[in-house]
């Protein structure tokens, strides 16, 4: 949401790609993909493994060659430029820090065009930005996983790229660390007003961090919108089920209506039966087998949890 209406200046998209096609070893990996990231916004690109999201990122960076399509970064057509001239930032899951260089030298790697003093000042500024000023003289292997990932971000941001591409940057981290670092990265990107594409297979991460969310399925983007849109009005059953737990209620006319677990309440006694009960902490999640044989997932229920096999009914709450 941030930079979109930034300073009231209407700016073109930071990144715009049209009709990207790519095949690797005879297999079509990208099948006509369009991507647009407004200036300063974070696009979360989410999809199951093997859907082509990492290839898309590599293609945007110029690391994978395209069969067709154009890529524009900051209004400049970069389709024919090699990776080293595209001026994008890139952060990998395995952080890819240069192990033989100190942290400050890592951050300075992309700043060779600057005079020495300016470079040192910028490196210090970047390390302060990611909160690692005191670790400038350490080597990467002396840092924790989260610290390494911040260095990788500082290194990617240092040359002030138009857009930063993040390939599952939190994938190798502990769950507890992952969420905090995610928010921190988002706020750093907002402060720098840098647009970003975040590739992830974690739908929770995509929904919480992405100003916009693009859902990918076998080489295509099947939906592109705000997190709210994608959650509330998924374009397909695949998107609905991939982005969050989905159940379908059958209406009288035979059509099906999507309901999320928090919209269903289980009550004791009725035509259906409880098939599974999961303890989620604040609530219980019930999987209900309806008399028609469908499965429904509900997060609301009576204070005293029902047992597996108990008879029950469901109530639909308003959205």
């Amino acid at each position: 949401m941030s930079g979109e209406h930034g300073e009231g200046i209407v700016k073109g998209p930071a990144l715009e790609a049209r009709g990207l096609r790519c095949s690797l070893g005879g297999r079509t990996v990208l099948d006509g993909v369009d991507v647009e990231v407004p200036a300063g916004a974070l696009l979360a690109l989410v999809g199951p493994s093997g859907c082509g999201k990492s290839t898309l990122l590599r293609a945007l960076a110029g690391l994978a060659s395209l069969d067709a399509g154009r890529v524009q970064i900051g209004g400049r057509d970069v389709t024919d430029l090699v990776a080293e001239r595209r001026r994008v930032g890139l952060v990998f899951q395995d952080n890819a820090l240069f192990g033989h260089l100190r942290v400050d030298r890592n951050v300075a790697f992309g700043l060779r065009h600057l005079p020495r003093a300016e470079r040192a000042a910028l490196v210090a500024e970047m390390l302060e930005l990611v909160g690692l000023g005191r670790l400038a003289r350490r080597y990467p292997h002396q840092l924790s996983g989260g610290e390494q990932q911040r260095v990788a971000l500082a290194r990617a941001l240092a040359p002030s790229p138009e857009v930063v591409l993040l390939d599952e940057p939190f994938g190798a981290l502990d769950e507890s660390l992952r969420e905090d670092l995610g928010w921190e990265v988002k706020s750093i990107l907002e402060r720098r007003r840098t647009a970003a594409v975040l590739v992830t297979h974690d739908r929770h991460e995509a929904l919480t961090l992405g100003d916009r969310v693009a859902v990918m399925e076998v080489g295509r983007i099947v939906q592109h919108g705000t997190a709210r849109d994608v959650y509330r009005a998924p374009a397909s059953r695949f998107v609905a089920g991939f982005i969050a737990v989905a159940s379908y209620l059958r209406a009288a006319d035979g059509s099906e209506v999507l309901v999320r677990p928090h919209q269903l309440r289980v009550v004791e006694g009725g035509p259906h039966s409880v098939e599974r009960v999961e303890f989620l902490g604040p609530t219980h999640r019930y999987t209900i087998r309806t008399s028609a044989g469908d499965a429904l997932v509900a997060d609301l229920g009576p204070d005293a949890p029902l047992a597996v096999g108990a008879r029950c009914d469901v109530e639909v709450l308003a959205r």
Binding site: R58, A61, F109
Partner: protein, 524 residues
């Protein structure tokens, strides 16, 4: 646009290196298509069958011995923990610094007191000496592979009721078969290329035949035909190694922790340490002690200044030659590996052609290079007065043809371990392929290159057949000195240069161990 130009430049580099390295091999191969039947017929009726059977027997004995010794010693120091394990683990690599022809004459003299001067000249004793000097190849490869064996794999096998011996035979050896096979192939190549040790023990192998025919009768055609037969055996060895690998490559480190060594009890620890120490004593301490005794004797009886002067001259030649050739091999090998990396499978296949020379025994390479260089000299492409045959450049070229593979494979194996994301990061941060190579890839593989350089240096210092056949006047290396003294059974005279070879070799082996400790890769 710049990408296209860089790409062409890279391909040009690949092709030039491959053409240079491959030329002598191809020249030799062409002689196979045009055999002189008269010489073949004569060879068949006289020496050839005996040479082939002795070569085969020696090869089988040494490969079997080194695989058994190297693999079990590697397992002992990888799977078990005992006092002194670290030190003895590295000491077991030391025989790498002792050429077979040095260990050979030290043991020959020591043993002839026991079994008599005639009985000692046997194929089996020759095989034993070669096993003791060559097992470190298998040992090093097997240790590296065992270190990559995951703790969880071993724990799973234990959980399924497999005992320690079962884990070794049913899990570790099969999993590390490609690495053991690669080590065994190196051993086989060393056996096929050996001319010094076999001469000491009167074993007439094909390599020995090439040398005898070349020097004795001067029939170059006959020597070339014999070299071709030797190449045939080498090709067979490579084929067997590929079959043993069964398509598997050196196993990559499995996810998770490495296998933890099992603590041995007091008696077990003593037995393990004693076993390893016994091997080191037999392979290193006894021959070196014998050499030292001779050297002391020589310096007492002869004028010290003469010996010192001789050592200075020969050691100078050896160091000059070994370092020049090692730098050429590591430089060209790294260039080739960098050019081949990121260029896909076809580039890799072309790059591998440059390593053909390593599969060729030394005498074969020497003959191939002489034939090639003589042709170049004859065609008068070079400025008047410049002759390649018998020049230092010609000798370095021949050594590079034979040993380029060590530099290339060392660089390639290390480059394979550089995460692709690291190279991609550097590119995205604005580095062209030259800066990526200089600022990221070379620093990342520095220990791999150090290990390969050390290995190359040891190889060069020990090298005999190529140096012997191609050395220019004035380049008298330590190995040639040893060769000349031992072929006249002047053991005491050979002791001093032998000791210097061993000392230089030990220094290089130490460097190799440092590099390996820092995570260097020697093979891909």
């Amino acid at each position: 646009m710049s990408r296209r130009r860089g790409s062409l430049l890279g391909w040009a580099a690949i092709l030039v290196v491959v053409a240079l390295a491959g030329a002598p091999v191809l020249v030799l191969a062409s002689s196979v298509l045009d055999p002189s039947t008269g010489i073949w017929a004569e060879l068949w009726q006289t020496r050839l069958p005996g040479m082939i059977s002795e070569t085969a027997l020696l090869l089988a004995a040494v490969v079997t011995g080194t695989v058994l010794l190297g693999t079990s010693l590697a397992w002992l120091v990888s799977a078990y923990s005992f006092a002194g394990r670290r030190v003895i683990g590295w000491a077991l690599v030391a025989p790498l610094a002792i050429p077979g022809y040095v260990g050979g004459f030290a043991w020959l003299d020591t043993l002839s007191g026991v079994v008599g001067a005639r009985g000692v000249r046997s194929l089996w004793l020759c095989a034993a000496v070669l096993v003791l000097t060559l097992y470190p190849y298998v040992y090093l490869f097997a240790r590296a592979a065992f270190a990559d064996l995951g703790a969880s794999t071993v724990a799973a096998a234990r959980g399924l009721g497999t005992g320690p011996v079962g884990v070794f035979l049913r899990i570790a050896v099969p999993a590390c078969r490609p690495a053991i096979a690669a080590g065994a192939a190196l051993v086989a190549m060393e056996v096929l290329t050996d001319i010094g040790t076999v001469r000491l023990f009167n074993v007439s192998t094909l390599a020995d035949g090439v040398m005898r025919v070349w020097f004795g009768t001067g029939e170059r055609e006959a020597a070339t035909e014999l070299a071709t037969a030797l190449t045939g055996v080498a090709v067979l060895v490579i084929a067997v190694e590929r079959l043993t690998r069964g398509g598997a490559r050196h196993a990559r480190r499995q996810a998770g922790a490495a296998m933890a060594p099992q603590q041995l009890g007091r008696a077990g620890a003593a037995a393990a340490l004693a076993t390893c120490a016994a091997i080191v004593v037999v392979a290193v301490v006894v021959p070196v002690a014998r050499l030292v005794a001779w050297a002391v004797e020589t310096t007492r009886s002869g004028p010290v200044a003469t010996v010192a002067g001789g050592v200075g001259h020969h050691a100078g030649s050896t160091l000059l030659l070994a370092s020049t050739a090692a730098v050429v091999c590591i430089g060209l090998g790294t260039l080739l590996a960098l050019a081949v990396a990121h260029r896909g499978r076809s580039a890799r296949a072309v790059g591998r052609l440059a390593t053909l020379g390593y599969a060729m025994p030394g005498p074969v390479v020497a003959v191939g290079v002489v034939v090639t260089l003589a042709a170049v000299d004859r065609w008068r492409w070079l400025p008047a007065g410049v002759v390649l045959v018998g020049s230092l450049a010609g000798l370095v070229f021949a050594l590079a043809v034979r040993f380029l593979a060590v530099g290339y494979q060392g660089a390639e194996a290390s480059l394979d371990r550089v995460p692709p994301s690291m190279v991609d990061s550097a590119r995205v941060l604005g580095s062209g392929s030259t800066r990526v190579a200089l600022a990221v890839e070379l620093p990342a593989i520095r220990f791999g290159l150090l290990a390969a350089s050390a290995l190359l240096f040891v190889d060069m210092v020990k090298e005999l057949p190529i140096t012997l056949l191609l050395r220019p006047f004035g380049i008298d290396t330590l190995s040639v000195w040893v060769w000349q003294a031992t072929s006249e059974s002047l053991w005491a005279q050979a002791a001093v240069p032998s000791l210097v070879i061993v000392a230089i070799g030990m220094a290089a082996v130490g460097l190799l161990l440092v590099a390996l400790e820092r995570g260097a890769e020697v093979v891909s």
